[in-house]
Structures are given as structure tokens and as C-alpha cells.
């Protein structure tokens, strides 16, 4: 315990840097992943990908396929993914963000698709019947109603990313993965255990910060009529 406190006090600037970079890596990646997933879900949901003349099964199939690809990405071991991305993006921030983004798409995509299709068909029929066009219907009715579900997808995405960002340190050298990997490679050496502990507990703190942010965001962005 004393070791850890001593480590924290002598390396305060470094720890602060780990925290900042870890937080920002996740923030950037989740932002990009959310945009990609939302666009993909909207396109899939409105079925602009396949013409309406195609059979129902094919159109439903295209949605399932996109989900399948996104979920397959999740099964790639994170260490392997960063290893595969390194030759393409080199070292540093870019392979880390690309990797995290790929992991973050699925939860947002899955929840957005589920959220959009959970909207009461009667509400959508009424919207169509009073003359709301497809874009207005999506923006004013369907997306706001699906929003709480979308938001919880983003939240799951963030939790996954916070833990995987630590592994991403093999290519980025940033975040709490840095002390963790340093400590692990020289395990048994002076102060190595303190590094491992800080590298493990650090992401927990980052996750807590995100969780608090989500509570506030949810409160602020959920329309009053559907707040529970």
C-alpha cells in the first residue's frame, strides 16, 4: 500500500497524463463509433441500402449481415487487433483510435436498431398520416423515442473501450495501459507491482467518470414525456 502511494506521489505528472490520454482516447473513439453506428443504423433501418422491390428476407438479411460483421469484430482478441492495425497505422494515437472504434460500433449499432424498431407502429402511422415526411419522422419522432436505448448502447460501448484502451497501449504507449505493460514486463522489479495496480485501477476511475457523465447526459437529453 505504501509502495503505491509513494509511486503516485513521485509520478503524479505521469499518472495525470495517463488519465488524460486514457480518457481522451475513449472519448474520441466513442464519438467516431457512435457517428458510424448511427448512420449505419439509420441507413439500414430505412432500408435505403436495398431497394424496396427486393424481398423482405433480403432486406432484413442486409440488416442482420451488418450486425453480424460488427459483432464479429468484437470477437477478435484486442491484442491481435492492435497487432494487425500497427503495420497499417504505425505507432501512436491512430491505430489505438481505429481499434477502439471498431470495438465500439457493435453495441451502439445493435441498440440503435433495436431502439428504432421498438417505437410504437401506431405512433409512426399517426406521424405519416398527419403528413410528416420520412426525414422529419425520423428526426422528430423515431430517433427521440429511441434515444434512451441508443444512449445505453453508447454507455456499454464506453465500458468496453475503457478496458480495451489499456491493451491499446502496446501500439499507442498512452493511457493506463502504459504503466500496466511496463509493470508487467519487469514484474518483480522495484515498484513494478505499484505500476500494475495503478494500471488496473486507473481505468476504473475513468469508467466512473464516464458513468457519472452518462447519468447527467441521460437526464438532460431524454424528452420529459418519456422519462421514467
Amino acid at each position: 500500500m505504501g509502495d503505491i502511494l509513494q509511486y503516485l506521489s513521485t509520478n503524479a505528472t505521469d499518472v495525470q497524463f495517463y488519465a488524460q490520454t486514457h480518457f481522451l482516447l475513449v472519448l474520441y473513439s466513442v464519438a467516431i463509433a457512435t457517428v458510424i453506428a448511427l448512420v449505419l443504423a439509420l441507413v439500414l433501418h430505412t432500408n435505403q441500402l436495398t431497394p424496396p422491390s427486393w424481398s423482405r428476407t433480403v432486406r432484413a438479411g442486409s440488416q442482420e449481415t451488418a450486425l453480424l460483421i460488427a459483432s464479429a469484430l468484437l470477437t477478435v482478441p484486442s491484442l491481435a487487433l492492435f497487432g494487425l492495425l500497427q503495420p497499417i497505422f504505425g505507432f501512436g494515437i491512430s491505430p489505438a483510435i481505429v481499434g477502439l472504434t471498431l470495438y465500439g460500433i457493435y453495441p451502439v449499432l445493435r441498440n440503435t436498431v433495436a431502439g428504432l424498431s421498438s417505437v410504437d407502429p401506431a405512433v409512426l402511422e399517426a406521424a405519416r398520416g398527419i403528413g410528416m415526411g420520412p426525414i422529419r419522422r425520423m428526426a422528430r419522432v423515431q430517433l427521440p423515442l429511441a434515444w434512451p436505448v441508443v444512449l445505453s448502447g453508447i454507455r456499454v460501448s464506453v465500458l468496453i473501450m475503457v478496458s480495451i484502451a489499456a491493451v491499446g497501449a502496446v501500439v499507442s504507449g498512452l493511457g493506463f495501459g502504459k504503466p500496466l505493460l511496463d509493470g508487467l514486463t519487469r514484474l518483480g522489479g522495484a515498484g513494478s507491482f505499484a505500476q500494475v495496480v495503478v494500471g488496473t485501477l486507473g481505468p476504473l476511475v475513468i469508467a466512473a467518470v464516464f458513468e457519472i457523465a452518462f447519468v447527467i447526459i441521460k437526464r438532460l437529453t431524454t424528452p420529459r414525456g418519456i422519462r421514467v
Binding site: D120, A122, V123, L124, E125, A126, A127, R128, G129, I130, G131, M132, G133, R136, R140, V141, P144, L145, P223, R224, G225, I226
Partner: protein, 369 residues
């Protein structure tokens, strides 16, 4: 008193030009052999309520949804207010047509005011004009604007939600309203009240209304005209409620209207149309020829029968307003086992009496005429 023409034509005399006209409209859904709706040909006069009724799967809802292009007809034309509906943008068209559905479909994330103001907002009305209109409409459907404007749909009962649904349909003052079983999911007591309110609202706004229902009682109560659909989407009869109940066009309609037709017709017949017996008001129990004798109380209100011809003991006194229907008269008579009912004018003064035996004879004469 034996001619039926004065009853059946009473609303035709006021019928305006056709607001909606269907010309040879058919709809066959993709992948289905039989058409859902076949060769429809009818007109909806301006300011009238037309009820579309028939067994499930008869195409009544399909017909309704073709009018605002939620469903596109396979063949034929639908003319709305002089224009072919396919000649205008579907969204623009729908903003000019009120649309109310059974599941209401209020936007749960928007306040009642926002829900009602949605169409005016899309039409680009100013904020102040929308706010005034919302309050006006809430008043119209019997909801206090101050109390309900800022509430959310889930805070309202089913009946209140449908009132808001109707208000939303009326928001931009469209000439035409399409209603798809709006009161179908509401409990019978509330439904009855909503129907009364609906007729009251219609008296004020005089819209051209197409109303889908599966309830014959509702069709007879609300409709100026009834369109009866048979299976396979064919229009079997299109006529006034009275004519449909009295002279069903074919076996199908007769069966659909059922054995209760004669009783249902009673609610279409105003007491004002019947010949009433003269009533003598007296203080003493003296036989006054062949007329029933009525005693008044101290306030001058009818109190009890003193003498009724053909009875030894005076029956209980029951009353019905002059503006009521024969159905109301029969109802109170059966309820109190009275052979006659006193008809009161608006001022509460006796207008005459309606005798059971005379009334039944009169109705039979009308039915056979």
C-alpha cells in the same frame, strides 16, 4: 303520418357537392390474387359523416387509407375537393386531411400542446397563432387548456388521449377528416360519451368525415350515410341509416344489419315526428272524454296521472323530452312498465302523451309504407 320519405330524405336536401369521390377504385395487394377493394364508386357529400362498415377484411380501412394515400390504389381515381389525390405531394395532401386512428398514436415525448400543434407547425404557422389554436381545440374537445396543454400523453386516460387525437386531427382546420375506429378501444360508457361529444363538435365544425367502424350501433348513431362493405371489398349498399335498416339492398346487408334492425331504427325516429295524444290538465279525478288526465304539483310541474283511459288504476308517471327519440320513449316505458309516457317541451310543460299501443301501430304503418 305514414310516409317514410320525409325521414329518409331529411339529410339529402341539405347535401352539398361531393367533397370526396371514388371513381372505379380497386386495390390488390402485391402477392395476393383477390383484390382487397374492388371497383369502388361512391361520393361523400361535403359536411356529412359517412360511416364505412363491414366484417373484418372487407377493405373498409384500406378504402380509408387510400383517401390520404397511406395506401395507393391499384386502379381508379380518388378526387378530393376537386383534385385527384395522386396529383399532389402525399405529405402536403395529408396535412390538409385530419387523420385519427384507433390506437391514437400521440407522440409520447411531446406535450399535448405540441402534439396538437404539430400540423400547424409543419404548415408554417406563427407560434402565437398555434398557441391560440391549441387552446381553442382543447376547449372544443372539452379539456381545460391550462390544465392539459403542458401534460404528456401518458398522463391522460384512454378517453382523454382520443380527445387529443381528435383535436390533433382538427388542428389545421382541414375540410376532411378520416377516422379509423377512433372509439374502438375505449370502454362502452366513455365511448358513448365521446360519440355524443363528437356529434356536438361536428355540429360546430361541419367537416366532411369518413369514419370506419365495425359497430352497427355506432354507424347508425353517428352516420349521415352508411357504406356497407361485403367480403372481397365490394360496396353492398350506400345509403342513409334509416334506408339501410328499412330496405336492405340484398341478403348480405339484411343479414349484417341483423334482427335488431327494427329496434335500431327507433333511435333514428324523433318523437317530434309522431302524433301525440292530447293531455288534459286537471285538479280533480274527472274522466275527460278519451284523454289522459294529468295532475300538477304546487310548482306547476307534472306530478302524477289522475286518470288514463282504458285503465282502472292510474299508471306511474314517466316523462321524455320532446327532442328525444322513440328509442328513449320505449326505454322509459319498458323500465317503469307504463303504457304511456308524457312528452315534455323544452320549458318543461306537457306537450302531449305517447301511448304504447298507438305508437306500435304507428311504427308498423311506417315500416310497411
Amino acid at each position: 303520418m305514414s310516409e317514410t320519405s320525409e325521414i329518409t330524405t331529411s339529410d339529402d336536401t341539405a347535401a352539398g357537392r361531393p367533397m370526396i369521390a371514388l371513381e372505379g377504385v380497386s386495390k390488390t395487394y402485391p402477392g395476393q390474387e383477390r383484390p382487397a377493394v374492388e371497383e369502388l364508386e361512391f361520393e361523400v357529400p361535403e359536411g356529412k359523416i359517412v360511416m364505412l362498415i363491414g366484417p373484418s377484411g372487407c377493405g373498409k380501412t384500406t378504402t380509408l387509407k387510400m383517401m390520404n394515400r397511406l395506401i395507393e390504389p391499384t386502379t381508379g381515381r380518388i378526387i378530393l375537393d376537386g383534385d385527384d389525390v395522386t396529383s399532389v405531394n402525399a405529405d402536403q395532401l395529408r396535412r390538409r386531411i385530419g387523420y385519427v386512428i384507433q390506437q391514437v398514436g400521440l407522440f409520447p415525448h411531446m406535450s399535448i400542446g405540441e402534439n396538437i400543434g404539430m400540423v400547424p407547425k409543419m404548415l408554417g404557422w406563427e407560434r402565437q397563432r398555434i398557441a391560440t389554436r391549441v387552446d381553442e381545440l382543447l376547449h372544443l374537445v372539452g379539456m381545460e387548456p391550462g390544465e392539459y396543454r403542458d401534460r404528456y400523453p401518458r398522463q391522460l386516460s384512454g378517453g382523454q388521449q382520443q380527445r387529443v387525437g381528435v383535436a390533433r386531427g382538427l388542428a389545421a382546420d382541414p375540410p376532411v377528416m378520416l377516422m379509423d375506429e377512433p372509439f374502438g378501444a375505449i370502454d362502452p360508457i366513455t365511448r358513448d360519451r365521446l360519440q355524443d361529444e363528437f356529434l356536438e363538435v361536428q355540429r360546430q365544425v361541419a367537416k366532411t368525415i369518413c369514419f370506419v367502424t365495425h359497430d352497427l350501433t355506432e354507424a347508425v348513431k353517428l352516420g349521415d350515410r352508411i357504406a356497407i362493405f361485403g367480403t372481397g371489398g365490394r360496396l353492398r349498399q350506400y345509403d342513409t341509416p334509416d334506408e339501410i335498416l328499412t330496405n336492405p339492398a340484398d341478403e348480405f346487408v339484411a343479414q349484417f344489419v341483423g334482427g335488431g334492425a327494427a329496434v335500431r331504427r327507433l333511435s333514428l325516429l324523433d318523437i317530434a315526428r309522431l302524433k301525440l295524444d292530447e293531455v288534459v290538465v286537471s285538479a280533480t279525478d274527472s274522466p275527460a272524454g278519451n284523454h289522459p288526465v294529468l295532475a300538477l304539483d304546487d310548482a306547476g310541474k307534472p306530478d302524477r296521472w289522475l286518470h288514463v283511459p282504458g285503465t282502472t288504476e292510474a299508471p306511474p308517471l314517466v316523462t321524455v323530452p320532446f327532442t328525444g327519440t322513440v328509442y328513449d320513449a320505449v326505454d322509459v316505458m319498458l323500465d317503469s312498465r307504463a303504457p304511456l309516457v308524457l312528452v315534455l317541451g323544452d320549458d318543461g310543460a306537457p306537450r302531449g302523451a305517447l301511448r304504447w299501443d298507438a305508437m306500435v301501430g304507428d311504427l308498423r304503418a311506417r315500416g310497411n309504407a
